[in-house]
Symmetry: none
Subunit: 409 residues, 2 copies
């Protein structure tokens, strides 16, 4: 079985000012193609530290990947350390320099001279095209071993890995040790209640189950080397807890919702208060959302709730903006204003201030209005402002999914 | 200068299913008390891997901290590896067992037998009380060196570090080596152009500068042991590049914008198309935004651009929704609709589809309308849909900051 190592280079990670999200992403990608990460090292932007880390990783693993330290300002150190470790010279490659110049021209900017260093490539290395930034990836192989260096910006690293490194790795190492995964996304049930439902669920040997609590919901991931057994086990599990499963694998709440709207030929609009645009942002994360999502209103002030959404001033006065009555009027109001088939709304106390004894921080009211009528629910979320807003935005989407699915059945 | 190392133990980190947030948190805490992290290692829940990692860290650093591997199910491996590395025996400590039993009794639960192992402590080690869970921390010292082991659950790790480990570290090492930081956030200038501007910038000895590229902008972080010198250097740098600096340290674009709106007594509203609500979400990330942010519209469909924002159908027909004319009409429209002082708008091609030769994916038009008039700009972003949307939402906020600051001057 092949082994890989990830070396993260960057003072900012060791100062704690940047979270190492690259490691988690690379670890998932590498596991999935049968090159699980054996260990990971994080070191400073210092030649000796980089050299020693490369030594340790290269001596023990088949595939070594570094991230960070390839920007135009810190480039020299990392690239020199890499070249020195592999006994290579740095050579200027005019083609890369041309690509960098084109990129700046597209942005109508002058190319600063210090970017020249990004066109330097160690001898015997291959430069990997980076269409998302100016630092190309680097690739070197020695017999059965492979070395890759990527820029630290996650967007650029992911782009170069997916488009350049992954095909090279699949060709060289095959994917016979590929770990297959099948994820069920659940909603509206606690982890422990789910565990009780699945207490006697029989899992064949070689299939593992990971419980992955997400913010406000739980994912179940089955994984193993036998693709069919993984799928079959996940499907059996799905049949047991079907009412709680809203999606599978790469599904997102917004994508699933848009699929249902498409199936049912419905157009949606949204009125948000405490989530401030987040629910609509999630829906429009999906390319092509515009066919079934018309748009909506962020009625952050009470005046907009009245003037745009036709919320009754009496409702605001007597029951407050955070009330089921207000949520219903907002949902009906946005449906009428935009002439959509379905209107939904979110209004709540996201905190940290604004909570009362009756409506503490985390209280959120949701409104739903469609051809069948208008209704509402209230839910209490815990956590800080950010997580309350995130959970509330997902909640309104997931609840609408549940509602629309029942409508078909 | 003292040095520390963090060893993370856990298969889930190397599978990529868990993000290593413990490292970033510990790194900040340790830097702040003068024990900066020299390097960090992440290894599997395997005795030999743990042993080797402890060896590498203990040989080179003054303070070694491990996280993970102390739960009731995986406890034996880690604790045995630690004991074996330090040549200790595991001894049952009845007092800890009593604490664990009390904790379960409080939750009205039976103590599973596997929790007994959590009362085992290596000889010469001190158990550190964990009031958030069942796995106590472990502490060992040898001359000037200190070793700590914490459970991997962030809540428990932080609790034991803050209440038990930090006081011990401060007493033993003092905090005369505290690292001070000062960050300048820039916008509208590339990393390499900034590097040219600062090519001759004199940095006193002992002050380091980290270049931190964010998505679409760059942060400069000065750090060192002398608080005054760090601040003074950052301020001198700020004076040189003032036109590009939008904030300092913990500032966010939305917070800075809201402060300016407050200073100038202005109320804002927003019309978004391609960003789908993200700009408004960012603004409302700030508690108390409602005083200066009224709300806005997500006019995802052309029909809403016309009916709510009063965009001229001729504009849409002749110049398209992604045009400076449309952006200006949207900004003016949302200002009028909401009776705000300032209206801003975003309309563009976020991709992956919808690009043309004239308006490729990444083309975004921004509109601004206030008492002085209505104007617009166009910017070309690269990246995928997610990053184009993110950069565009930050861009409209940061551009408004620049505009409003000039207005005062």
């Amino acid at each position: 079985m092949y082994k890989s190592a990830v070396v993260t280079i960057g003072n900012e990670i060791l100062l704690g000012t940047t979270l190492n999200t690259n490691l988690a992403w690379l670890a998932r990608e590498l596991s999935a193609i049968g090159l699980p990460v054996e260990f990971s090292l994080t070191v400073k932007d210092e030649p000796e530290a980089i050299f020693q880390a490369l030594k340790q990783a290269w001596e023990t693993c088949d595939v070594v990947i570094t991230t960070g330290g390839l920007g135009p300002t810190e480039d020299d150190i990392t690239k020199n350390s890499i070249a020195s470790f592999f006994g290579a010279e740095l050579v200027f490659e005019p083609e890369i320099w041309e690509e960098i110049q084109k990129m700046f021209a597209f942005r109508k900017m002058k190319v600063p001279e210090c970017n020249r260093c990004q066109a330097m490539v160690p001898t015997h290395f291959k430069a990997l095209k980076n269409e998302r930034g100016t630092a190309p990836g680097l690739f070197f192989e020695d017999g059965s071993k492979s070395f890759f260096a990527f820029a630290g910006v996650p967007l650029e690293m992911k782009h170069v890995f997916e488009n350049q490194a992954k095909p090279l790795l699949l060709e060289k190492y095959g994917n016979s040790n590929q770990v297959w995964q099948y994820t069920l996304h659940t909603f509206g049930v606690s982890e422990s209640a789910l565990a009780e439902l699945l207490a006697d669920f029989p899992k064949p040997g070689g299939i593992d189950l990971a419980w992955l609590p997400q913010t406000g919901r739980v994912d179940l991931r089955f994984y193993g080397l036998a693709k069919n057994a993984v799928e079959e086990t996940a499907n059996r599990c799905n049949a047991l807890i079907e009412n709680y499963v809203w999606g599978k694998n790469e599904d997102t709440p917004a994508q699933v919702l848009l699929n249902i709207l498409q199936e049912q030929g419905l157009q949606l609009s949204v009125a948000e208060s405490c989530t401030g645009g987040l629910a609509q942002k999630m829906i429009t994360d999906v390319p092509g959302a515009s066919e079934y999502f018309l748009g909506g209103v962020v009625s952050y002030s009470n005046s907009l709730k009245q003037s745009l959404l036709d919320v009754n001033p009496k409702t605001l006065l007597e029951q407050g903006a955070v009330s089921e009555q207000c949520a219903q009027e907002m949902a009906l109001g946005i449906k009428n204003l935009t002439k959509s088939h379905v209107g939904i709304s979110v209004t709540g106390v996201a905190g940290p201030d604004g909570g009362t004894r009756e409506k503490p921080v985390g209280t959120v009211c949701f409104g739903f209005s469609d051809l069948q009528g208008t209704w509402s629910i209230t839910h209490a979320f815990n956590g800080d402002r950010e997580s309350i807003r995130f959970k509330a935005a997902e909640f309104v989407i997931l609840t609408l999914i549940k509602h629309l699915r029942r409508t078909i059945a």
